[in-house]
């Protein structure tokens, strides 16, 4: 089993951190994993993205031209990367920052008002964690528990306040879909 996920958004939205947390979780789960940041002159443009590949076997390439999942944190990233999602794959959207709907009909689209949820939790910078939580719920690519653990390692258990905020954001994202009726064409 090999699954690739692309995370994208503006620089500063914590896109790389989101991908890193997911990749770290997979490592804790003992899986093969690669995390590949986009790098380069694009950074000037203010957008960032990364690809996380999780597999039960060795990973040939850490990049993805057509990932199974795409998580986007804003409108421009959605516009651009929706076209990358593999047919039948999932597109997870930070709906607070995306006004328009994606055009793709052959993929499942999941909208999470991540920025709004984070704002409600007290810090819009936690929007990435909301999406990470939603990601675990929607893809089962990594487990919620391990993600919480991973974030514990990464944020550092001493920074209790930050950690708690992140944990709450992850759980909120995870639970968002329990409260909500299934997305169209949703699949596990």
């Amino acid at each position: 089993m090999l699954v690739k996920t692309l995370f994208a958004g503006f620089g500063g939205q914590g896109v790389l951190m989101m991908g890193y947390c997911v990749a770290y979780t997979a490592m804790l789960e003992g899986r093969h994993v690669t995390f590949m940041p986009s790098y380069g002159a694009e950074v000037r443009g203010g957008t960032a993205n990364c690809t996380v590949t999780i597999s039960t076997a060795e990973i040939a390439s850490p990049v993805a031209s057509s990932p199974e999942n795409v998580v986007v944190m804003n409108q421009p990233s959605m516009e651009r990367f929706q076209h990358h999602v593999r047919t039948g794959g999932a597109l997870i959207i930070n709906s607070t920052m995306c006004e328009r709907e994606p055009v793709r009909k052959d993929i499942s689209v999941h909208a999470v008002p991540a920025t709004r949820i984070a704002e409600e939790l007290g810090d819009i910078r936690a929007a990435n964690m909301v999406l990470a939580g939603a990601f675990t719920r929607l893809t089962h690519n990594v487990s919620l528990e391990m993600l919480l653990d991973a974030v514990g390692d990464i944020v550092g258990r001493k920074r209790a306040h930050m950690l708690e905020l992140n944990h709450r954001a992850i759980i909120a994202g995870h639970e968002y879909f329990d409260l909500k009726k299934p997305a169209k064409k949703r699949k596990d």
Binding site: A41, V43, R44, G45, G46
Partner: protein
Amino acid sequence: MRKLEPRPATLKDAAFHYCAGCGHSIAHRVIAEVIHEMGIADRTIGVPPAGCAVLAYNYFDVDMTEAPHGRGAAVATGIKRAFPEGVVFTYQGDGDLAAIGTAEIIHAANRGERITAIFINNAVYGMTGGQMAPTTLLNMRTTTSPAGRDARREGYPIRVCELLAHFDGACYIERTAVNSPRNIRRTKKAVRKAFQTQIDDLGFSLVEILSPCPTNWKMKPMDAWKWIDEVMSVQYPIGVIKDTTGDTSDNAG
């Protein structure tokens, strides 16, 4: 009704890829305006650096050629010697000019090459992500001076204008900034005078432009602009550092 066109004809119709509030954008416009106003667009050759401005040829509507990182002054020397009618300028960052390109700029200045160096001092390596530059201020944190620049370990911020003023071949050297309307206008005058120095066959000219890099300074753009006034220009005082052109009318800025 009269529109003031902000884009000089010597700039291509392309949006800058620079970060918000970056000084490169303003420096580009100012140079383009001078080239336009002096009517030298058809004989100007620019030499952009490796640095954030590496794509400057996408903006300037004059002939341009790349140079390897730091070698702008040598490339410009080759151009100017082979095309003496030309107006040749290098556009170089502080990493490019004051680190890897130290020898090239010094010897071009010493030979009095009839070229103009536009030296963008933003106190960091912008393009590569904010490493320490020779011009990084003491105690300033960068990705390669994470504890703040320490004189003992990393040396002192280098004052390029004062250094190059040492050389007899250097004819006109001024330091300006692009962090306020006044400084931007001053920069324009300085660039014009530097080009004129070259055209008048007087010697080497250089304009150092203190230029905000909000991204790597990790400041909001306007904080970065203010920081130039409050901190950076203390180490790097704005003004004419050397002028042996004989024409000092413009030096007040």
